[in-house]
């Protein structure tokens, strides 16, 4: 963990945590800021107030209850499916690369890619929404002919770090891959 401050493509601050388990095994964790209680409170309160206003005008309680339920469900879905707290990339030399992302609700989704399937790890450029960003991605080797690229696995999809952060990750990945 070094002092350098990183931001994502929208300028929000993110933290990059690099942990070396061994000379050939490194784990990067990009953690985006936690979901702020205050903001959530503001949103929910605003929605509920609105619902209450409607209820006040047309006094049927269905509006109120439905508003409450909808906000609750929406929040649940949000923290369970959308909001990613931190994404981590575990590079184990000669064994493989493991990407995992943990959601705000604590749900973890992990996938492991063997070294034999990986062709290279590169930084790529892409058009995202209406801006053009750099992103880190793993090139999978095509089993048919080893020189070709069958598909691309983008890394750190939810928290999109900026170039300097990517370069840092990229360099140490490259050195591990090149060593083994």
């Amino acid at each position: 963990m070094d002092g350098e401050r990183y931001t994502d493509v929208n300028g929000k601050a993110i933290a990059l945590d690099q942990r070396r388990h061994a000379s050939f095994c490194t784990e990067f964790t990009v953690s985006s800021p936690k979901v702020s209680i205050g903001k959530v409170m503001v949103y929910t309160c605003s929605v509920w107030l609105l619902a209450y206003a409607v209820f006040f005008l047309t006094d049927n309680t269905a509006v109120l209850s439905s508003a409450i339920i909808i906000t609750l469900i929406g929040m649940m879905l949000y923290i369970h499916l959308v909001k990613v707290d931190h994404e981590s990339l575990l590079v184990i030399g000669s064994l493989g690369v493991q990407l995992s992302s943990s959601y705000a609700s604590g749900r973890e989704s992990t996938s492991f890619i063997e070294m034999s399937k990986i062709k290279d790890i590169v930084i790529n450029e892409a058009v995202h929404m209406h801006q053009i960003i750099y992103y880190l991605c793993i090139l999978l080797r095509d089993p048919a002919d080893p020189s070709a690229v069958s598909s691309v696995v983008p890394l750190f999809q939810s928290s999109k770090p900026k170039l300097n952060c990517l370069v840092k990750v990229y360099k140490s990945c490259q050195e591990i891959i090149s060593k083994c």
């Binding site: 388990h21 095994c25 000669s94 064994l95 493991q98 492991f112 034999s116």
Partner: protein
């Protein structure tokens, strides 16, 4: 290089001994399977390993030594090192645990095979070794996805994890040995508790065999029954294919067959499939029994039976009211009174018919229901499909209405489309696949406009009927679709797989994930390998048993298309034609032998001649001629494609049948555009048709000058009442510089030959040889064919003892040479472009036409003499 050691968790605390396992080929990876504790006798170890290898095709070996810190420590290391000499290995692991350290420490001894002084070299920095701990039981039982072939995943895919899984899974015999039994060796590895349960399983397996046999026999009987001639009759077959209950029956039978097969499932997928099917059948039957239990209490059946008939009556009454409403001014729509009345009466009559049928049916209804209810014993699905069938039968009249409405509406729409084109003074050009402008005659315009107006004013009436009945049909179909969907669900639901996934998630593994256990400096890296359970959606997708209802009858999209698009079939075919027809590089040169096409040249021929001279017969006689429907009605044109062999080249012909009436000369004009050859057809039993040829030739010279043409006398099989003598026809052909044929599509005589010659002339005229002769190396087959043809008349080829394919090939060759001959003596080509063509070109080309090899006369004679 980094060394991976897969270490079973259960051996963490085992006392010291030998590590038994396997080095994975292609990776420097060691899979530790068990630890043999000493004291032991090396020879025992070796033979034990031998027999293990015998039982499981895994080359298990001694990997190294394992030392657990305890008292009587002294001399242990020395001893362990000596072991390495006893079990000669290329690489020798020395894994040991120190007290107070969680991590292992490991030394790797390399020793050359040759008997030299044992050079021992220690791995300098410990981090070069990864210990991957795994849970033996889970790994043994789990199945990695996507599932692959059960053979060893060795060279074809170097995936390391898969190899580890394979190794562990296949060394079951080693685990089945009990630790505590009286063997010479003591091992520590995972082993199953609860032997009794497994014994029970064995007993069940034994007992299930005769049951399976019984079921198989029953099934055999059933299949025999279905294959009896009675059920082979086409109507029965058709009906049974339409009745979803029959389909369901056959489907279940197939299922039972798979389940009750005696040989054990070898591969994972097969096993899962069987289990799933079994579960779904069981579930199905249980539901069915429940249903029956509900159905047969406090005579719901009778109540159903009584309520059914009134319901049907109500439906039909509703329909009648609907029709009455339609026959009035529905929703204030202005409809044509007369047509409205006619249609309404027609449909009303149908309803009456229907009601009378129902009345006939009524007394037996309850019995039918009772027996139908029994079918639920075969499973709920069966009952459901039976229900849908009954629904289909009860709403047959709605279906009829729908069909009538649709047809009427389609016809109207076609008419309006083409007449609208005429209204704007356009016409659809088939060859170009686009709308061209053309000037019609005055009377054409007048009549067309009259018809257009009439149709336009009648359209809303029919459209309304179509709409209403489509709606009705849609309701019925939706209900049926829901039934089918539920049946499908029960049929294909992978219950067993889901159970596995829920209760023992590790059984269906999507992959693995690693957890870093301890990274204290100085020791090797320790990882924990865990299973990544398969997602539920994945499970359902993978193990869903395929069902019969995947075919479009039940898929909603297809169904909607059937409902809505019925009236656009015409346009659909046209669009498909777009793709199919002449490629943008439209001329025969453009389409020269690109390998993807299944033909070398694409030629467009026109069959012209007066009406009913049998152009249609000629086309129909082409067995492989793929027919294309006319692009819209009132065109009177359709075309077939066939592929002929010409001198060893595949030539694809598009044969356009212009309808004979003279009125269509405008259309004929547009066709003659792309046409590269014309067959003038007349009927030898019909004098007029022969005289009509003059007019056609004039037409051709006007619209398509110089296009090669041949004269074809049709219906040779009616030669006994011929009115056109052959000699006269041939003389006429000579005069007009055409080649002449008399064909008979009935006995398939000379038809293909005539096409072949025409295409040969056309290709010659396009100067095709220049394209294929130089870059063409004669295959041995071609040379042989030439040799044979040069000494065999064409009619003898059939008698040659050769396979059919080669015969046709030979024929094509002999035809080729024969044609050249005909063309030479009948100077057909040089005159073919008589009036319109430029003399200079034609003369000079006639020289260039001369075929290189002079063909033997006899075969050409034979060609012409036969006719």
């Amino acid at each position: 290089m980094v060394l991976r050691v897969f270490f079973p968790q259960c051996c963490n605390r085992a006392d010291s001994g030998l590590l038994v396992g396997r080095w994975l080929p292609g990776h420097d990876t060691a899979v530790v399977l068990a630890v043999i504790h000493y004291p032991f006798i090396p020879s025992h170890v070796k033979q034990y390993l031998q027999q293990i290898q015998g039982q499981s095709q895994v080359e298990v070996g001694v990997l190294g030594s394992w030392s657990m810190p305890s008292e009587k420590q002294e001399g242990l290391d020395r001893f362990l090192q000596d072991l390495s000499t006893i079990f000669p290995q290329k690489r020798w692991l020395q894994v040991s645990r120190q007290i107070g350290k969680t991590g292992f420490s490991c030394r790797l001894l390399q020793q050359p095979d040759k008997e030299g002084e044992e050079k021992e070299e220690e791995v300098e920095e410990k981090e070069r070794i990864i210990f991957v701990h795994y849970e033996q039981r889970k790994v043994m039982l789990s199945q990695l996805h996507p599932v692959e072939s059960p053979t060893e995943p060795g060279l074809e895919n170097p995936s390391e994890i898969r190899q580890v899984f394979w190794t562990v899974a296949h060394s079951k015999p080693l685990f089945l040995r009990d630790k505590y039994d009286e063997g010479p060796l003591k091992l520590s590895h995972w082993q199953s508790e609860g032997r009794e349960a497994s014994i029970l399983v064995e007993l069940m397996k034994q007992s299930s065999t005769p049951l399976c046999l019984l079921v198989t026999w029953l099934l055999g009987a059933w299949t025999w029954l279905t294959n009896t001639w009675l059920l082979k009759l086409s109507p029965v077959r058709l009906v049974s294919s339409k009745l979803s209950s029959c389909v369901q029956l056959g489907y279940r039978a197939a299922h039972l067959k798979t389940v009750s097969s005696i040989q054990t499932a070898t591969s994972h997928t097969e096993f899962m499939r069987k289990a799933n099917i079994l579960m779904s059948v069981l579930l199905d039957v249980c539901l069915g029994l429940l249903f029956m239990f509900w159905l047969y209490r406090e005579d719901r059946l009778a109540w159903l039976a009584q309520s059914l008939l009134p319901a049907a009556d109500r439906v039909s009454k509703e329909l009648e009211e609907l029709l009455q409403w339609l026959m009035g001014a529905p929703a204030g729509l202005k409809m044509n009174r007369a047509l409205d009345q006619v249609l309404g009466r027609f449909f009303l009559y149908h309803i009456h018919l229907w009601i009378s049928y129902l009345r006939l049916l009524s007394p037996f209804l309850e019995v039918i229901l009772w027996y139908g209810g029994l079918s639920a014993a075969l499973g709920l699905t069966f009952a459901l499909s039976l229900l849908s069938d009954m629904l289909a039968l009860l709403t047959f009249h709605i279906y009829c209405f729908y069909v009538y409405g649709a047809r009427l509406y389609c016809m109207k729409l076609y008419g309006l489309c083409s007449l609208w084109r005429l209204f704007r003074g356009r016409k659809w050009n088939v060859l170009r696949q686009r709308v061209d402008s053309c000037c019609y005659d005055l009377d054409q315009l007048f009549i067309g406009t009259l018809l257009f107006t009439i149709l336009l004013f009648l359209l809303p009436t029919t459209a309304l009927y179509y709409l209403v009945f489509t709606m009705l049909r849609l309701v019925v179909v939706v209900v049926q679709g829901a039934l089918h969907l539920s049946v499908d669900l029960i049929n294909s639901f992978p219950l067993f797989a889901l159970g596995l996934r829920v209760f023992t998630p590790y059984r269906l593994a999507e992959g693995v994930k690693f957890r870093v256990l301890s990274d204290e400096p100085g020791t090797a890296l320790h990882l924990m390998m865990e299973m990544n359970a398969l997602g539920l959606g994945e499970v359902v997708q993978t193990y869903r048993t395929p069902t019969y209802s995947c075919y479009p009858r039940d898929s909603w999209i297809a169904l909607l298309r059937k409902l809505v698009v019925v009236c656009w079939t015409g346009t659909r075919t046209r669009r498909t034609r777009d793709a199919g027809l002449l490629d943008p590089a439209g001329d025969a040169m453009g389409s020269q032998g690109s390998p993807v096409k299944r033909y070398d040249y694409l030629l467009k021929f026109l069959l012209v001649g007066d009406s009913d001279v049998g152009k249609g017969e000629i086309l129909d006689s082409l067995q492989d001629g793929a027919a294309e429907s006319p692009y819209a009605y009132s065109s009177g044109i359709d075309f077939k494609t066939t592929t002929i062999l010409l001198d060893g080249r595949r030539v694809k012909l598009e044969l356009w049948d212009t309808s004979g009436q003279g009125r269509f000369c405008t259309i004929f004009r547009s066709y003659s555009r792309g046409a590269q050859g014309i067959l003038l057809v007349y009927d030898i039993t019909n004098r007029w048709s022969f005289d009509g040829i003059d007019r056609w030739i004039r037409e051709i010279d006007e619209h398509a000058p110089g296009v090669p043409r041949i004269l074809v006398g049709n219906r040779l099989h009616l030669a006994f009442k011929r009115q056109v003598p052959t000699e006269q026809a041939r003389a006429y052909a000579e005069k007009n510089g055409m080649t002449f044929f008399e064909v008979s599509p009935l006995c398939n005589f000379n038809v293909i030959e005539s096409f072949t010659e025409l295409s040969r002339i056309v290709l010659m005229r396009h100067g095709m040889e220049k394209f294929w002769k130089p870059n063409r190396v004669f295959t041995l087959q071609d040379l042989c064919c030439r040799a044979i043809v040069s000494c065999t008349p064409v009619h003898l080829i059939d008698k040659l003892p050769l396979p059919v394919a080669i015969k046709s090939h030979l024929k094509s060759f002999s035809m080729a040479n024969g044609m050249n001959a005909v063309m030479m003596h009948g100077r057909s080509y040089s005159l073919a472009n008589g009036p319109a063509g430029a003399k200079g070109n034609s003369l000079k080309r006639s020289k260039s036409i001369r075929p290189p090899q002079s063909p033997p006369q006899n075969c050409s004679r034979s060609n012409c003499k036969i006719s």
